[in-house]
């Protein structure tokens, strides 16, 4: 039997994924995600003893370059795409619990 996700489990996953969802949405996603997990159950049961995992199809090697300064993206142009910026930095609401 495959994993059946409850609405509560989906609400927890949504919190981990930083997605605000309603109770109604949790129920819908619980059904859909459970159906997907049921479909992949066959793969979960495949005998893969001794088979190494592949994280990348073709062999990767570390890529290094000389540590020399060179031009990068224009700061102001990058910041102009942000919802809010101030003094050359991204501006966000408070991160810690205390009042500003």
């Amino acid at each position: 039997m495959s994993e059946q996700l409850s609405s509560e489990a989906v609400a927890h996953i949504a919190r981990l994924a930083r997605l605000e969802i309603t109770a109604e949405e949790s129920a819908t996603y619980a059904g859909q995600l459970s159906a997907i997990l049921e479909h992949v159950e066959a793969v979960r049961r495949l005998d893969t003893a001794g088979v190494p995992p592949t994280s990348h199809a073709l062999e990767l090697r570390n890529v290094l370059r000389a540590d020399e300064p060179r031009p990068c993206l224009e700061r102001d142009e990058v910041l102009s795409g942000a919802p809010r910026a101030e003094d050359g930095r991204f501006l966000v609401p408070r991160i810690l619990g205390e009042e500003p």
Partner: protein
């Protein structure tokens, strides 16, 4: 109606020879878009001004006896997940509304350097997640062969724009079939190159171990010309292979004599009769041209779909973490940063993106990682080994691109799994990092186009194009775009 735009290599040859002005080619493309895009919605935005400046420059160069490049004056559309400096790049998502990238993708710079005219950004399933272009915040693209049907996806706008004769060439991205599947459904050529052959610098990341950029074109020769212009090593992409672009144009007249072709028999059983019989007919064309054709059983490939729907969402959940209301596009204000993140993402992402982000988050979470993600990676090895076994005996493989012809709007939107099955035959290639391409070969149910898929081992692009050229030459007339807009049939 007669499509106004010819093929890419033909346009470039005439522009370079001074017989045709780049400005007039651009005018025709923009007029075709103006005439038909209200109905088809292939484009999210146009870059007419930038293209016009470029066209003027190209015509000046030709006049001065200079060569503007291999794609001189060729109008090209870009999938809207490829970054263009100072021009909107939305990924068809509300979360990137209003954002303009501070740089051009490497493929954009290379196309421009080859003399191409970048005319606009095409519609896609949000963040390239989907197989119908219905998951777009800007609305669906319609299939020019039958406007009551989907163009496929996720690069549906690019495929439909080429099929409708608006542009002779477009770029897409293929993570699980997002170039080949819409190419098949729209009756155009679509190529997914070997992983690492085309730089992904400036391609908005979906599943980084699978994503690859490739061309759509009207003909195999045009696709080869575009691939040659965009491929080759790029130090800005650490996964870029250190080799020159594969020279595919030179092998197009080589024929199939002696080529060993394997027909993936397991896929034929899962395809509709029209798609399966197209593969059989294409195999006969190759055999008649001197290829040695045999069936090959590769049942392991059918496990690819399930492995993909664990691996791709896992990578997506990580890649899409960056859309948090801080650096790009949309922000929904809230008193603290975590609530701001969660509300921004809730408002900015559509249902399919949320589904995949949550699925990916779940399969990567503590206690489930081994059962799902690590297991899927082992299955990825099994798929790669099955291909390796086949390529011990064959130079290329032949398979259907899709299980059926283009389906109706709404036919698969209620059941995510049903939609995922549209990629059953294209996904294994991405898991293995191999090249594959779809070539229009027949008309199937309701007179809609059917594509045949040619697959090759890593860096087997030349053999793949060789076989594709033979298949294309053996296809009956009328099976490919450009096509005038038709309503439901």
């Amino acid at each position: 109606m007669t499509p106004p735009v010819g093929g890419a290599t033909e346009i470039a040859a005439r522009v370079r020879a001074g017989e045709l002005s780049a400005a007039s080619v651009l005018d025709e493309a923009l007029a075709a878009i103006e005439a038909r895009d209200r109905e088809l919605h292939c484009f999210n935005s146009l870059m007419g001004e930038r293209a016009r400046e470029r066209a003027t420059e190209i015509d000046r160069m030709v006049g001065a006896g200079q060569d503007p490049g291999s794609l001189a004056g060729v109008p090209v559309a870009l999938k809207d997940n490829i970054c263009t400096r100072a021009a909107p790049t939305t990924c068809s998502s509300r979360i990137l509304e209003g954002w303009t990238p501070p740089y051009d993708a490497t493929v954009v710079r290379r196309l421009a350097a080859a003399g191409a005219l970048l005319v606009g950004k095409t519609n896609l399933d949000e963040f390239a997640m989907g197989s119908s272009t219905e998951n777009s915040a800007t609305g669906p693209t319609r299939n020019p062969w039958d406007t009551s049907r989907v163009p496929g996806g996720s690069s549906g706008g690019s495929a439909a724009a080429v099929a409708a004769g608006m542009v002779p060439v477009a770029l897409g991205s293929d993570t699980g079939g997002s170039i080949r599947q819409p190419a098949a459904l729209c009756g155009v050529v679509g190529v997914k190159p070997t992983y690492g052959v085309v730089s992904r610098y400036g391609l908005v990341a979906f599943a980084s171990s699978l994503d690859q950029i490739g061309p759509f074109a009207l003909t195999v020769a045009d696709a080869a010309a575009v691939l040659e212009a965009i491929a080759g090593h790029d130090e800005m992409d650490s996964t870029s292979l250190e080799r020159a672009a594969p020279r595919c144009s030179e092998v197009l007249d080589d024929g199939a004599d002696g080529l060993r072709v394997g027909v993936v028999s397991d896929f034929l059983a899962d395809a509709s009769p029209d798609c399966a019989s197209a593969v059989r007919s294409a195999a006969e064309v190759l055999a008649a041209a001197g290829a040695k054709v045999d069936d090959v059983a590769l049942p392991e490939l059918l496990h690819g779909l399930s492995a993909y729907y664990l691996i791709a969402p896992a990578e997506a959940s990580s890649n899409l973490a960056r859309y948090d209301g801080v650096r790009y596009g949309l922000r929904v204000d809230a008193p603290d940063v975590e609530t701001m993140n969660a509300r921004t993402r809730a408002a900015g992402f559509g249902a399919e993106v949320k589904r995949r982000v949550m699925l990916g988050t779940y399969v990567l979470s503590a206690g489930y990682y081994d059962a799902y993600y690590a297991q899927a990676q082992r299955v990825r090895t099994i798929v790669a080994r099955a291909f390796a076994r086949a390529y011990g005996h064959f130079d290329v493989l032949l398979a259907p691109t899709t299980p059926s012809v283009a389906f109706a709007f709404g036919a698969k939107t209620d059941d995510p799994l049903e939609m995922y099955l549209a990629d059953l035959f294209t996904i294994p290639t991405n898991l293995a990092g191999h090249p594959a391409m779809s070539v229009p070969f027949a008309l199937g149910e309701a007179g809609l186009p059917v594509g045949v898929q040619v697959l090759a081992p890593a860096l087997g692009e030349r053999e793949m194009f060789r076989a594709a050229a033979v298949v294309e030459a053996g296809a009956p007339p009328g099976v490919r775009g450009p096509v005038g807009t038709r309503s439901a049939r």
